[in-house]
């Protein structure tokens, strides 16, 4: 199994492999996002309590999921890097924060726009919001640690260890709505007793999330390709 995977761990080959996958991701992501947005904004029912503002959810929730998923991905890649020492893993992990931080920002901004009509304020210091803000800063920290170690091998190790330490935050974000009394509503889709959300809202949300996930993959694949190219140039220029 590992032997087989080893073949794809070659950056050049990997770069070639992700080329078609990247394009597939992009060309399925855009229609899915468009369909999701159309259904979500025009055809799904308004909430009985929140009215039309609930439509922010389709962007807010899907980008929030992606921000969390991105961190889990970074964490796993870092662990794999520390175990098997394939440089490709950390190369991939290092490209994720740049994309993930944008989704985190989208989540925070749409969240505060949603908060104004429903809670009456843009920002509350409750557990979910604070821990999500900390996630934003951890992403920034990961970007900084990458920048602070340019051309130093230790940068890879530092990055992966930091991402492992920062992973403590992820369960806190996920369960903060259950552990503390927060203004933020508790989870209604991913929970033990099945989704409590209306099916007519769930469908556009799912379409939207799939689209955003694919878009996310497209973005990180593009980044990874350019990182591999950059590494190749560095390699060529350092050869006598």
């Amino acid at each position: 199994m590992l032997r087989k995977l080893h073949k794809y761990a070659n950056p050049n080959k990997f770069s070639l492999i992700i080329m078609p996958i990247k394009n597939v991701c992009l060309y399925t992501a855009l229609p899915l996002i468009a369909i999701g947005l159309i259904i979500g904004l025009f055809f799904s029912p308004p909430d009985y309590q929140q009215g039309e503002t609930v439509r922010i959810m389709y962007i807010h929730v899907s980008s929030a999921w992606i921000s969390l998923f991105a961190y889990v991905l970074i964490f796993l890649l870092s662990v794999f890097y520390l175990i098997w020492k394939f440089p490709l893993f950390v190369l991939m992990a290092k490209e994720i924060p740049f994309v993930a931080i944008i989704f985190t920002l989208i989540t925070l901004i749409t969240g505060s726009l949603w908060g104004k009509p429903t809670w009456g304020t843009y920002w509350v210091w409750d557990a979910r919001l604070t821990s999500f803000l900390i996630l934003l800063f951890i992403y920034l920290g990961l970007i900084f640690i990458d920048k602070a170690f340019k051309y130093n091998v230790n940068g890879d190790l530092s990055f992966s260890y930091l991402s492992i330490i920062g992973a403590i935050n992820i369960p806190i974000i996920k369960f903060s709505v259950d552990w503390w009394n927060t203004l933020h509503q508790p989870a209604s889709v991913i929970r033990a007793s099945g989704p409590s959300i209306n099916i007519e809202m769930l469908i556009p949300l799912m379409i939207m999330s799939t689209g955003v996930l694919l878009l996310f993959f497209y973005l990180i694949f593009t980044n990874i390709q350019s990182a591999i190219a950059e590494k190749k140039i560095l390699f060529l220029s350092s050869k006598d």
């Binding site: 020492k85 590494k231 560095l234 390699f235």
Partner: protein
């Protein structure tokens, strides 16, 4: 039965920034033998020594047999604190290694009487380098890895270290030494040379 001391290296390479630093190396060093690593700057002498010391991850096999205690090591960094006195330095490492060698003996061997209570910041480069050899003196190890031990030393100190190495070799020790100096430095018969291209 005591195992005979030996070091076998097969196809050792080391990668940094996914560029391998030297071509695969294979060599063997045994008890009472000295290996001199020669090569120009930037060919990976220090890297090779770090690989042997287990500080770097490498590809290939490095097999130590019969190593007693710790590996002795002298590197480019001295591990000295500027504000410490020489006496404190000696005392601290004696305590860390839990050594039975007395401080007086060390002071006499390295002739440190004059500088014993002055801060290390006041010492010259050569004197600092000499101090790092105190660590080797303290514990009873049979393998020494020395990274350019002669750079920046005057004749007296050089003689002292040559004596140390010679007596170590005659005590069935092993020395791996890197240098960029030409010609024979040491008067040891059982010497191997490894030139890194």
């Amino acid at each position: 039965m005591k195992k005979k001391l030996s070091l076998t290296v097969t196809k050792l390479t080391c990668k940094r920034n996914s560029i391998s630093i030297f071509n695969p190396l294979s060599f063997k060093v045994s008890e009472g033998q000295m290996l001199i690593i020669k090569g120009k700057n930037g060919r990976g002498k220090t890297t090779l020594i770090h690989c042997l010391a287990g500080l770097l991850s490498y590809q290939g096999l490095v097999k130590w047999k019969g190593v007693e205690g710790k590996i002795g090591y002298i590197g480019h960094k001295f591990g000295l604190k500027e504000y410490e006195t020489v006496y404190d330095f000696i005392k601290f490492w004696k305590a860390v290694y839990d050594s039975k060698v007395s401080i007086d003996e060390v002071v006499e061997f390295f002739s440190l009487f004059n500088v014993l209570f002055s801060p290390i910041a006041f010492l010259s480069f050569g004197q600092k380098k000499k101090l790092t050899f105190v660590r080797l003196y303290f514990f009873n190890n049979n393998v020494w890895l020395l990274d350019e031990p002669f750079s920046g030393m005057d004749d007296n100190n050089r003689e002292l270290i040559v004596n140390m190495i010679e007596s170590h070799i005659s005590n069935k020790g092993m020395v791996v030494l890197s240098t960029h100096e030409k010609g024979r430095i040491l008067n040891i018969k059982n010497t191997k040379e490894l030139v890194i291209e």
